[in-house]
Symmetry: C2
Subunit: 300 residues, 2 copies
Amino acid sequence: MRVAVAPVLDDHIVGAVTQVGAQLVDIENAQVVVWIGGPEGFPELPDGVEWVALSTAGVERFVDAGVLDDKRIWTNASGFYADGCAEHALALLLAGTRQVIASTRTRWAKDAVDPAVRTLRGSTVAIIGAGGIGRALTPMLKACGATVLAVNRTGTPVAGSDVTLSAERTDEAFARADHVVLAAPDTPDTRHLINDRTLALLKPHSWVINVARGPLVDQTALYRALTDGVIAGAGLDVTDPEPPSPDDPLFDLDNVVITPHVANPAGRLTVEMAPHLADNLRRFAAGERLASVLAVGRGY
Amino acid sequence: MRVAVAPVLDDHIVGAVTQVGAQLVDIENAQVVVWIGGPEGFPELPDGVEWVALSTAGVERFVDAGVLDDKRIWTNASGFYADGCAEHALALLLAGTRQVIASTRTRWAKDAVDPAVRTLRGSTVAIIGAGGIGRALTPMLKACGATVLAVNRTGTPVAGSDVTLSAERTDEAFARADHVVLAAPDTPDTRHLINDRTLALLKPHSWVINVARGPLVDQTALYRALTDGVIAGAGLDVTDPEPPSPDDPLFDLDNVVITPHVANPAGRLTVEMAPHLADNLRRFAAGERLASVLAVGRGY
């Protein structure tokens, strides 16, 4: 098996390639291209390339740049970074509900903070777009005593969740949830999933957490809901546009925390990807079905 | 069984008393006094009172006020609020390690925040004073992929933890831990458990979380360690003195969050206590051993 690693020979990825006994070659001679980066500088591929392994979970920018084609298999890193995303979602949710965020902005404001603290125990958390992140997040939420309501496109039951609903029933999930975690890909179907109408289905104590993609949230509607008391707060690791303007009004709200797209910190990307890539390379060598194959044409 | 509830007839507590078929009486005629509050205004007790159920987990202030005596059984609420404390400890730890705190103080400072984000997965978290809070926190940490190192006085294994050490081996725990959660009572043995020497055993990426009692931490030493880069940060729900002065220098540090003693928010105290009290009342009526009996004379 001849594998090219580009545009940089990352140590962890090279380690995965050599570990499975593959030969490291340049793109001209490769069957497999492992591409560690965005669409910028993506080369014309020779026809001999049978499979391109992208290193990102979201591939909108590759779609927009017209990089994907139907001449070969494309995989993304969907699910490879799920554990980190899930942990980050939990961190944002707990920082919100337990008033850690409010506390960073005050000095022992007990009279204001104490009545606002809520527990996840006995609460219902909806995970919208429950795939890899949802599977990773579910046991964390269960350990905190929450009821987990998973929503995914097909309604395929998510192991460990209490309820799984298909995407058509997202409104029901919002209506039943105390809090919402967004973990869906950015597609035409999910754009502005959080909007004036769906926010009104939530509760005054609800936190909305987004560790997926900024465009899932209509930020103007979110700002209104946050200032009008429609929901309690928002924890966002992604924004629209991204990066946000430094004078985005969301930064001025005490009930919002925006982390700078660090659910998967850059320094850990290839560490996390390497074992998944090694597994996929083994499957490729054995002629087995690859994990995380993109359905080119469906938008992601 | 004749039970007095004082100084206020809290609805949840009265509910627990009547639920077990006890008779609600005044203190003069009581076998059992359920005391919902601090030591201020605690009455002289008639000899007929066989058991006093205090509503707080820590009883230092009752000890200092000379309220406890050896004429009857005293119980505290140790363990009754463990779930909330554990969840709060997890919230503070994740808010620290995942840079949520840093993010509330910056606007999309990706270059600074991204390299500092750490995951609990694969990390070792030491729980110092692993009793009820430790038992509640352990499965939450395990769900996040951490190794749990429990330390308690006797070294009695904590269910679910990976390692349990007795208190004499606390230094070993510090040396092995990535992060430390303090959950011990405030006694002469635990005072300034976190000091210059023990802080030096920790790591530059370590977070110290205190959901127990302020005096466990030498705050001057902590301030030095936080400003000198000896450890990464601290999440404190308790301080010494408490409340802290509004110009306490810890408030000025970006790698500290202080929540105003809200791990058990006041509004939930009697809700949480009621089922535990009902259980203890049943035991008392049946002549069984009570839960959370204070060893009067050992300092707590």
